[in-house]
Symmetry: C3
Subunit: 226 residues, 3 copies
């Protein structure tokens, strides 16, 4: 292979990763894959969306509001969607807030990622998330396990940032909570995307996983899906 | 030009191709360009969408279903749309199925492409198309011409794969049929995108094309548009 | 850092720019950032959309037309949206037309950009904009300042083209008009995207800006927002 061919292949490999959601890692918090915002976590109620929705959320109101899309604030589900175009983010008032995510399937969580719009095109970069904590939960009633505190940086030229979480016991979690601790100074905070990466629970890796793995009973599952 | 400038230019050229639908080739099966799914092909009825749509397809039902988008299976038209985000695919039960496409204009077909989500981020890569056959048709009543059998590979790191078809007589086709022969083992098959490439019929190239070119009569056209 | 690492970093930098709207420059004509089409400019009425909309624009008609999306022509607002997929453009009859944009905030305009679909995948590349003039306005009643005449080229392999405008006095404009003067020969003209770049008005740069800066009165602002 010539040097030029090697170079083109290297570029094509980079583009292949780019087109694979920019990370080439499965995202278990992806809405389209079955994840959703969990509104029933006992200890982690979802922060109120900012600005408040001017339109009443009845079915008729929703139908009419399709024709005035810019007046509607984006719901929390926005952070589970891949788009990072300007404005496709979820906002909450102030710099502290939280949101719980039911993963598309219970996994051994190993990393999380935050996407924000690149600071070079952001109109209000100071609304970006700064410090945040991540919690892993086995059900919607427990406080869960603190998986670490991390900082999203707006001054490095990489808009997708991945953080290795601290989960030495390889516990399996069905839910993950993103808890914002600070932002870069704006009156409200905007989150474009939150991703959760990890290892699926298969018969093979279950054997090597510690005793901390929850045995999810039928009853628990029913409770969770209530 | 310096070596660094050459390199940047090479990268920009690759990005220009990437932004030109990743292939920089016109797609005559693109919905937005005027192509559509052909539901009236005598020999190639479109396979039933899987899972079956839970919602009755009346106008009212369609209106209401805008508010429960995840419960709706994607229609066959999805494969004529450029998005390859997770879930923007059309599914059918099992590993054998087919779909006919009316091209945006009759062309001399030279290649087809299949897009699937990259295996590194796919949640069920075994639902990918494996072997498939392509047919070229001049109208919706004929069996048409077998343009070859091909294999989409999930173990190479390229999610868009282009296949040169066998059309030595340079026939002009108005419709192309994609016939799935196998998948990678999943109970159903998902197709993200199907593209058809080729040469337009112009006064110039018509002269050099073989006698096999159909003379499409007004009557045939009317039959086709019925 | 090894040579391979340097190369990968160079590619990643290019991808970071690519994901930052391909230019890594804020766009003050972006709809999602608050810009909009200005229909009330005294001297620059917005050209009629081509083809004419077959559907009456009443609320009921709009609701129904969600189910026949292909039959609807794209409105002028389309040029303020980032998508450059085939067909996400605004058309007007002939080769001369114009559209006024209210920027997301008044700025010192320094550059404008035109996005068109790459000529290699365009089905009708001759519908592309060729020569155009740009005007800067401080309000919707004035003729404004001629910011230069430019040519979008379809024969260079770069689908986003940026043009430096001529604004030596650093005037601040709230509106920018795009005036099409010619196209590449098609019966109608299609514009995919129009962007406006520049410098924000801050207390700091206001001091160094010439005396030509308009003092926008409350009354003017009210008139503008009527
Ligand atoms: K998003
Ligand atoms: K698709
Ligand atoms: K557009």
């Amino acid at each position: 292979m010539s040097s030029l061919e090697s170079l083109r292949s290297l570029i094509d490999d980079a583009l292949e990763i780019y087109s694979a959601d920019k990370l080439a890692k499965p995202d278990y918090a992806l809405y389209e894959a079955g994840a959703c915002i969990e509104y029933k976590c006992l200890h982690y109620p979802v922060s109120k969306t900012y600005p408040p929705d001017p339109v009443d959320q009845s079915l008729l109101a929703s139908a009419i509001s399709w024709f005035v899309p810019r007046d509607r604030p984006n719901p929390p589900e926005t952070i589970l969607e891949p788009s990072v175009l300007t404005g496709t983010c979820w906002g909450f008032n102030g710099s502290e807030g939280q949101v719980a995510v039911r993963l598309s399937e219970p996994i051994v969580v190993t990393e999380v990622s935050i996407d924000h719009i690149n600071s070079k095109i952001a109109h209000h970069i100071t609304s970006s998330l700064k410090e945040f904590r991540v919690w892993g939960l086995k059900n919607i009633t427990e406080v869960g396990v603190d998986l670490g505190t991390f900082t999203y940086q707006t001054d490095i030229n990489r808009h997708v940032q991945t953080f290795q979480i601290n989960n030495p016991t390889n516990q399996v979690f069905s839910h993950v909570v993103l808890q914002a601790l600070s932002n870069y100074g704006y009156p409200y905070t905007c989150i474009y995307r939150f991703r959760v990466h990890g290892d699926r629970v298969t018969p093979e890796n279950t054997l090597s996983i510690s005793n901390n793995i929850p045995i999810i009973s039928e009853k628990q599952l029913q409770e969770e899906t209530l």
